[in-house]
């Protein structure tokens, strides 16, 4: 909850990216008469990469953008550091409008404040791990001793201290991606853009890197925008998730919000296979205390075992099966804020459309 009050580091305001020959006319049609993606394709033969995407990334937050290939997520992330210029809309990074920066200031912004990690890693083959990790500082003209020290420190953070003098070709895929992350960390940016960094890795290594990445980002207090086509990955890593389809963001929220209230059938289908037991929390399962009293006047509230509002379903199942009355009180700061019965718990595990029914008990 604190995060919602934290400073907004990246602010995208209705971004559009239109590709094609007649982009200018298409942009005018979009901005003046609100033409849709289909209109633009039909009337101007232009492809809309991103349409009207808005998002805010707050300090310390990991923001995942999930979408299948062709959904525009790679285009969107490249507009956050202006590797791609938006056709319409604004990107504010730390309050500065990127489109207003001249080349020198844009370069400085990228060098100091926005790091990036690529799916293809992009390690330079003729440089050692240490030289690759310090490459960002090297092009900024930082003296060798200083940049090597910074590169060593960031390589230590990703566990590669033993590999400084090796060449990228001697490293496994997972290790190469760690170097990619270390390179982004060496310049000590506040924001790290991750463009499907773990997609090419095998599942075990991927999970390990996901956990390490999340832990490291939180420890260092960095903010990250993380692109992925894998909803499990988005849920594992992201504080908040935006789901993209056909260039538009169709839903933004925490994993729990998206799973409990999918915005449309597309999202519902996506989240259908996701296990809820660790995602759904007590506060979205519970019924009001008054309602419980009304249903079960015979049960005294203070005899129920207590659970925290953010206890997940897995923990609640444990508690409730131990409880004689088959119910758990949700207690926040010493105050009973709701009650969960076995029925509530079962309803919370049902698939999307019925999950809404759970709210009415």
């Amino acid at each position: 909850m604190n995060e919602s009050r934290a400073e907004v580091l990246v602010d995208c305001q209705s971004l559009w990216k239109i590709f094609g020959d007649k982009t200018e006319a298409a942009i005018r049609a979009v901005s003046e008469r609100g033409a849709t993606k289909a209109d633009v394709l039909q009337q101007f033969n232009c492809v809309v990469g991103v349409s009207g995407a808005s998002l805010q990334v707050r300090r310390g937050e990991i923001f995942c953008i999930m979408g299948l290939s062709g959904s525009g997520k790679s285009t969107l992330i490249r507009m956050l550091n202006r590797l791609i210029d938006p056709s319409l809309g604004k990107v504010l990074v730390k309050g500065e409008d990127l489109s207003r920066l001249d080349t020198a200031r844009l370069r400085e912004m990228r060098a100091r404040h926005i790091g990036m990690v690529f799916q293809s890693v992009a390690l330079l083959p003729n440089r050692t791990v240490l030289e690759n990790a310090g490459f960002g500082l090297e092009v900024q003209g930082v003296p060798r001793a200083e940049r090597n020290a910074a590169a060593r420190a960031s390589l230590a953070k990703v566990g590669l201290s033993e590999w400084l003098d090796r060449y990228p070709s001697e490293l496994s895929g997972g290790m190469q991606q760690r170097v990619g992350l270390a390179r982004a960390l060496t310049s000590d940016p506040e924001i790290i853009l991750m463009d499907e960094p773990f997609s090419a890795l095998d599942p075990l290594i991927r999970r390990q890197l996901q956990d390490e990445f999340r832990q490291l980002t939180k420890e260092l207090g960095k903010s990250a925008v993380f692109i992925t086509h894998d909803l499990d990955e988005a849920i594992r890593i992201g504080d908040r998730i935006a789901i993209m389809k056909d260039g538009a963001i169709i839903q933004t929220g925490t994993a729990e919000e998206i799973i409990l209230n999918p915005a449309d059938q597309y999202v519902a289908d996506f989240v259908a296979g996701i296990s809820r037991v660790h995602l759904v929390k007590a506060h979205s399962v519970m019924i009001p205390v008054a309602e419980f009293r009304h249903q079960h006047p015979d049960i005294a509230l203070d005899t129920l075992p207590a659970a925290a509002p953010d206890a997940d379903v897995a923990a609640l199942i444990g508690q409730i099966t131990e409880a004689a009355q088959g119910a758990v009180a949700v207690v926040d700061q010493g105050q009973a804020v709701g009650v969960i019965t076995m029925r509530n718990l079962l309803l919370s595990l049902r698939e999307a459309p019925a999950a809404q029914g759970g709210d009415h008990g």
Binding site: N81, L83, L106, R107, E108, M109, R110, A111, R112, I114, G115, M116, F118, S120, V121, A122, L124, P125, N126, R127, F135, G136, E138, V139, Q140, Y167, P168, S169, S187, L193
Partner: protein, 284 residues
């Protein structure tokens, strides 16, 4: 019916153009000629001022310390071979000629090649020009070159440059096209200047293909230098020409083998110098 009036004669149009250039820009050409001549003479002087064994020893030692013993042995063997065949002076002249020609070819071809890789329009314009440069029999270049610069080494170098530019230019363009998009994106994303992207990302990544281009440039220039013997450029080319005109098999063969030795030497040496310090990276 007499169709001779339809006959096309580009020479009739070109010859006055060459004459006109010669008349109006004589000063420019003379200055270019003097510059090239001076560079050649300086290089020749350096190569010939010491006795041959001393030059071989210095070259081998320098290569041994800077690059490695294998290359040092090869250099000493090549140079020793031409010395024993009695073609030392001619070989040094040929090396000077090819070195100056290759440096000038690369100086022209490299920037144009980079430009062509970045702008498809430039490439579209250059492509037919390069095709013509490569397919016109090389001694045809010698004619206008001699008309403008007179007989001697300068027209030989000019014709050699025209011949050496296309492979270097084409392979430079290819090399820069082959640099992965992700590397350029990386450059932009870390806030690198275009200069840093060129020197620290693009050129090192393109190096293997650039070396192939340089190799082609050297070998074609050597082949052309032989032809240049026809216009009095001296060096090994003159020996080959003499062998041919007198039907002396021995002389022709000796000069031919000396050219092979020079080719080997220049190719391996240029590779060694450019790849120095990137040996380990070359593995990937």
């Amino acid at each position: 019916m007499d169709l001779s009036f339809l006959q096309i004669s580009p020479g009739r149009a070109l010859a006055p153009a060459v004459d006109w250039l010669n008349a109006h820009f004589h000063g420019v050409f003379a200055a270019i000629g003097r510059g090239v001549e001076a560079a050649l003479s300086a290089l020749e002087f350096v190569l010939l001022v010491l006795p041959a064994p001393a030059v071989i020893a210095i070259a081998a030692l320098a290569v041994f310390f800077l690059i490695g013993w294998r290359l040092a042995v090869l250099i000493a063997a090549c140079l020793g071979f031409v010395l024993l065949m009695g073609l030392w002076r001619e070989t040094m002249q040929a090396i000077a000629l090819v070195t100056v020609a290759v440096i000038l070819s690369v100086a022209i071809a490299f920037p144009l090649g980079v430009l062509a890789a970045r702008r498809p329009k430039v490439e579209a314009v250059l492509r037919p020009v390069l095709d013509i440069m490569q397919t016109v029999p090389p001694w045809v270049y010698l004619i206008p070159a001699v008309m403008i610069f007179g007989l001697g080494r300068v027209p030989a170098i000019m014709a050699t440059i025209i011949y050496g530019i296309p492979p270097m230019l084409r392979l430079t363009t290819l090399a820069f096209r082959q640099v992965p998009v992700a590397f350029r994106e990386l450059g932009a994303a870390i806030g690198a200047s275009p200069r840093a992207v060129l020197f620290r990302i693009e050129i090192p990544t393109a190096m293997p293909t650039l070396l192939v281009g340089l190799n082609q440039c050297i070998l074609l220039s050597l082949a052309m230098v032989v032809l240049a013997g026809l216009v009095g450029a001296g060096g090994l080319g003159a020996e080959v020409t003499r062998g041919l005109t007198r039907m002396e098999m021995g002389l022709g063969l000796r000069a031919g083998l000396a050219i092979v030795a020079v080719a080997l030497l220049m190719d391996r040496l240029s590779r060694g110098i450019l790849q120095q310090g990137r040996d380990k990276g070359g593995k990937s």
